[in-house]
């Protein structure tokens, strides 16, 4: 099995005036090529921090990470060539048009001027933004911005696509569009590393999941394996939901989670 993402004893420690915080406390991960891997956890559990370390956006305190076969600390530029990143905030420049943004992104990945224009056109068609391509991004809706962000992460046909809560704040229709895109991208061979707080999303899309809590991985497996393990351990007479797996893994009650994880009702 070829490995697309690998982390060993990944640690991130923040030191500030108010003291030291260990946001990630020794994460081990392996994501196989071609998988859709779900990374779940409550707010503040260390999901985004882990993703930022894996995508070269944050320094690693200790441990190591390899993405697309490259050590992210030793050769960050080579790692960047192999990954696409769409973070929690759709990272877009509101003063550019959609087309300009994609062309610039392609130029930054060493496309020629004509190659960049061609790739931008392909991606605009792919995410259904041709009509809005020459409008400034500040006028785009949330769903359009999210699709454009996704397109910009795909400019260089990355081996691994990191999506950090890509559907947060989207209406149900836009969310389904993003899901379809994710499935299509994965079907073309791209490994998808997805962080989400929507457990239904993880259940629908992911081949395998890891749940992180307080900076440590507390569960890992396929959705079916995780449910079966809980059913057996608690001697349930039915298959539990992924919500129940999540609550069990993070030691939270429904009442406690209500304020933290909007989707767990």
């Amino acid at each position: 099995m070829a490995v697309a993402v690998e982390a060993e004893q990944l640690v991130k420690r923040f030191t500030g005036r108010s003291g030291t915080v260990d946001a990630v406390r020794g994460v081990d991960l392996q994501v196989a090529e071609g998988e859709v891997f779900g990374f779940l956890g409550p707010n503040g559990a260390g999901k985004s921090t882990t993703v930022r370390m894996l995508t070269t956006l944050m320094t690693i305190t200790s441990g190591s990470a390899r993405v697309a076969g490259v050590d992210v600390t030793a050769d960050p530029d080579a790692a960047r060539r192999g990954i696409g990143v769409a973070l929690q905030e759709a990272g877009l420049d509101p003063r550019q048009t959609g087309r300009e943004l994609l062309i610039l992104q392609a130029r930054l990945f060493s496309f020629s001027a004509s190659g960049a224009a061609e790739r931008a056109e392909q991606l605009l068609e792919l995410v259904d933004l041709v009509d809005a391509a020459d409008r400034r991004i500040k006028g785009y809706s949330g769903g359009m911005k999210r699709r454009l962000d996704l397109a910009s992460a795909l400019v260089h046909q990355p081996q691994v696509l990191f999506l950090d809560e890509p559907t947060t704040g989207l209406d149900p229709a836009s969310r389904l569009t993003v899901w379809d895109e994710m499935r299509r991208i994965n079907a073309e061979g791209t490994t998808v590393f997805l962080t989400t707080q929507y457990l239904e999303e993880a259940d629908q899309l992911c081949n395998r999941l890891a749940i992180i809590d307080d900076g440590l991985i507390v569960r890992e497996g396929t959705p079916a394996e995780l449910k079966a393990e809980l059913r057996q351990r608690q001697s349930l007479d039915r298959d539990p939901t992924l919500d129940e797996v999540f609550l069990d893994a993070t030691g939270r009650t429904r009442a406690r989670v209500a304020g933290q994880v909007q989707e767990v009702l």
């Binding site: 995508t55 960047r80 877009l92 300009e100």
Partner: protein, 250 residues
């Protein structure tokens, strides 16, 4: 190089799409220029020895240009990029961190060169001429643009460290004491002793004097060279500090 040019182009387009941000950078220096010349023009008629036959407006023009170069909007756009997540998008690309820093600063330099040209044109009705000729005018615009790189680099550093628009904006106020601790109303040798000492230690003095010599004198290479040396050293330091900050940015 292509990536650097692509980022510079983006910076210039960004400035052109927010023309309202250019207004204070033109209007406020012009306002101070007119007011200062109006207040002190009679005290220093064109026969005053340090004016070399030019009106006092020629002596005031460099201060207006330096002030214009210190309205760096690049850093505020950077804060917007940071807050909106686009800065992370750029950092996740295989682009040299120097190109990311210089892309914006080059756009800022181009903006200041254009504004300096407008200020020179605006000074012509006051009887100002560029004594060093076309080459001198080119050097004047180049020096103003280079100073913009230094100053915007400094403000950009505040933006990277603070990630706050308020802190970034107040950082730009640092320039005002620096500008007033220069020989901006009279030459250095006519300042009081404490002010002369302060001006001598203030690097902005040498840029102001270089700009002034390009307007009042023929090409005085020693003075011009000191001005360019100051911006070169400060510019290298600012770019290096920016690149280092982006490399360790979490």
């Amino acid at each position: 190089m292509t990536k650097f040019l692509a980022l510079s182009r983006r910076g210039i387009v960004e400035l052109l799409r927010a023309p309202e941000s250019l207004f204070p950078a033109v209007f406020i220096p012009l306002f101070f220029f007119v007011v200062n010349v109006g207040q002190a023009g009679k005290i220093f008629p064109s026969g005053t020895p340090f004016l070399d036959g030019q009106p006092y407006a020629a002596f005031q023009l460099p201060a207006a240009i330096l002030l214009a170069a210190s309205f760096g909007s690049a850093a505020l756009y950077l804060v917007e990029d940071i807050e909106g997540g686009y800065f992370d998008k750029l950092r996740a690309t295989p682009v040299s961190r120097t190109a990311i820093v210089l892309g914006r600063l080059t756009a800022e330099a181009a903006k200041v060169a254009a504004i300096a040209a407008v200020l020179v044109l605006a000074s012509l009705p006051f009887g100002v001429s560029i004594a060093s000729g076309p080459l001198g005018l080119f050097l004047l615009l180049l020096l103003a643009a280079s100073w913009a790189v230094v100053f915007s680099g400094f403000i950009q550093l505040i933006a990277l460290k603070s990630r706050s628009a308020a802190a970034t904006q107040s950082g730009s106020l640092v320039f005002f004491p620096l500008l007033f601790l220069t020989p901006n109303f009279v030459p250095r040798n006519l300042l009081t002793r404490p002010m002369e000492v302060a001006a001598t230690f203030n690097p902005v003095t040498y840029i102001l004097e270089a700009l002034r010599s390009l307007i009042l004198d023929d090409l005085a290479w020693a003075t011009i060279g000191r001005g360019f040396a100051v911006v070169a050293v400060a510019g290298i330091a600012m770019v290096a500090l920016n690149v280092r900050t982006i490399r360790s940015y979490d």
